[in-house]
């Protein structure tokens, strides 16, 4: 019997964990992971903050995965443009969609389309040297409003506060950072719809903020209250820790909503209303929204097509949570194989349309190149230009070091 051919769309954590689980459960299966970009790892490369390199340790697992002879990476093939679902179903016995939820949720208030309103996802991609961010790089001016109080908002607080030495050990591209932040941020107003106890960030994220050199934290609207939670306690310490004057004030506004982004052509301020009905206009020149991601409309999928990751669950769940989902996915596919719903025999990877694609060897060239280009105190310098990514990825003359961690 011919081996099971599996095509996975999206090489982010969800797609890679899916491949890992499927390659364990179906040892003979031939697995192909496609990505629109010429490089793998999705949010692990372009969503996780540059200074949280520890979170990226999971990448070791995925590097191993792609080193297996029955797992292929095809980068630069755009699902929707180069290949559609019908075509994928004719090529693969099993199709897994792991395309995530990439769009920033909209504020839904007047003024949200003014210049200077920037979604957290868009900003994070730009800060991570995403090759599609370059054409219209977001610019963050010194007075910033941040809407939201989850971990993404805490990430933004940290990223906007850091001085150059505080990026040591990261893969931040300093030249890019200067383009996005031409002048240091001097004032931040963070607007949280929930009160301090119910805010959705983790205490660990808040404690990390306490180690930053520049910012002084204060609560301007609402209060932290006396009720305890690890997050509220961390917040209380953060506010108490720093009272001396500084060149960066981070002002927290709890239990209030954004009524309007103010300005004629670009952002001049933000109008908030507390739960008690009190309105305030805060002078800011940039508004960052960190209120989640738009779930893509979830249509039903035809037989032999499965979803995983945020495309399946909506935009919630950590990177490790994707591993759990992938095990569930493997069980479903095993069930459908047993029931005869899936009949192996389709050609797999070789039948994909030709195009300007990269493979895993190409990624290793890019990876080695980026590490070699790293300046002092940085672990890599990412290539942010798509043409250069392809050029390096396809340049067979570039020496490729053995995959990291190869124990043989």
């Amino acid at each position: 019997m011919s081996p099971l051919s599996i095509g996975i769309v999206g090489a982010g954590p969800a797609g890679c964990f899916a491949a890992q689980a499927l390659s364990k459960d179906f040892m003979d299966a031939e697995i192909t992971i496609l990505d629109r970009l010429p490089v793998p790892f999705g949010l692990l490369r372009y969503g996780v903050a540059a200074d949280h390199q520890g979170t990226k340790a999971v990448q070791h697992q995925f590097e191993r995965l792609f080193s297996r002879p029955n797992v292929e990476f095809v980068g630069g093939l755009d699902y929707g443009r180069d290949v559609d679902l019908d075509r994928l179903r004719s090529i693969f016995d099993v199709v897994v969609l792991a395309t995530g939820a990439p769009d920033d949720r909209r504020l839904g208030v007047e003024g949200e389309t003014l210049e200077g309103v920037i979604g957290a996802g868009r900003l994070t991609r730009a800060l991570n040297s995403h090759p599609e961010a370059g054409a219209e790089l977001p610019v963050v001016l010194p007075r910033v409003g941040i809407v939201g109080s989850g971990n993404v908002a805490a990430d933004l607080l940290r990223l906007l506060s850091k001085t150059s030495v505080e990026w040591d050990g990261s893969d931040m591209d300093d030249a890019l950072l200067h383009q996005i932040l031409p002048r240091p941020v001097t004032e931040v107003h963070l607007i949280s719809r929930s009160d301090a106890v119910e805010a959705r960030w983790d205490a660990a994220m808040l404690r990390e903020l306490a180690s930053l050199k520049r910012p002084r934290f204060q609560v301007l609207t609402g209060s932290i209250g006396s009720r305890g939670s690890p997050e509220a306690d961390a917040l209380r310490e953060l506010v108490a820790a720093r009272s001396e004057p500084t060149d960066l004030s981070i002002n927290l506004h709890f239990a209030c909503v954004v009524e309007q982004v103010l300005g004629r052509d670009r952002v001049e301020g933000i109008r908030i209303r507390s739960h008690t009905g009190l309105r305030k206009d805060l002078p800011v020149d940039t508004v960052l929204t960190a209120i989640g991601f738009e779930p893509r409309p979830v249509e039903t999928v035809p037989p032999r097509v499965y979803r995983t990751g945020w495309l399946r669950t909506g935009p919630q769940g950590t990177i490790p949570a994707q591993r759990t989902l992938s095990k569930q996915l493997a069980l479903e596919i095993a069930r459908d194989l047993r029931s005869g719903l899936i009949q192996p025999g389709r050609p797999g990877c070789a039948a994909l349309p030709a195009g300007r694609t990269t493979n895993f060897a190409g990624w290793r060239r890019i990876d080695a190149y980026e590490r070699a280009q790293a300046v002092e105190q940085r672990v890599r310098l990412k290539i942010s230009d798509i043409e250069t990514l392809y050029a390096v990825g396809q340049d067979a003359n570039l020496a490729v070091a053995p995959a990291r961690g190869t124990s043989k």
Binding site: Q20, H60, D202, A204, I319, P320, G405, S407
Partner: protein, 154 residues
């Protein structure tokens, strides 16, 4: 005597290391891999030598894959006197409790009478180290040191 590689994982990194260590030492020793999430501490046998590989979640708590195992050790500790093991912890030193998950398992095992031997291996996720290389070096060092306990030609 068998080598049991016992791993506790959240995102799969500890399992990866267990796979790689098993492969690296497999031609010298009989090796079996066990996931803590599917292991009853009562089943641990002093007749085996254990290589324990455990990650750390969040700010120094156990990975979800190790929680039931630790709870069972805590609730109803078996008599593990005579059981020898070596420990390898994964963590991130930018947090206060570096590799704490492994230390929690270590404390539970010792409280039940087991004896830790050899190097306490650690991998720091915010370093540039290669975890597979570190774990394999740790395993070889431990097994060389404990060779007389295990018997090279087991």
């Amino acid at each position: 005597m068998k080598i049991i590689i016992l791993f506790g994982t959240e995102s799969g990194n500890a399992e990866l290391l267990a796979d790689e260590v098993a492969e690296a030492i497999g031609n010298r020793f009989p090796v079996v891999k066990h996931d803590m999430s599917e292991t009853d501490p009562m089943e641990l046998s002093p007749g085996d030598f254990h290589l324990v590989i455990c990650s750390t979640h969040g700010e120094g708590v156990l990975p979800s894959g190790a929680v039931p195992f630790a709870a069972a050790l805590d609730r109803d500790p078996p008599d593990l006197r005579g059981l020898r093991y070596a420990m390898f912890g994964l963590g991130d030193h930018s947090y206060d409790h570096y590799a704490r998950g492994s230390e929690i398992i270590d404390e539970h095992l010792r409280a039940a009478g087991a004896e830790r031997v050899g190097l306490y291996g650690r991998y720091d996720a915010s370093s540039q180290d290669d975890p597979v290389q570190l774990a394999c070096e740790w395993a070889f060092a431990v097994l060389n040191e404990a060779g007389h306990l295990i018997g090279e030609n087991a």
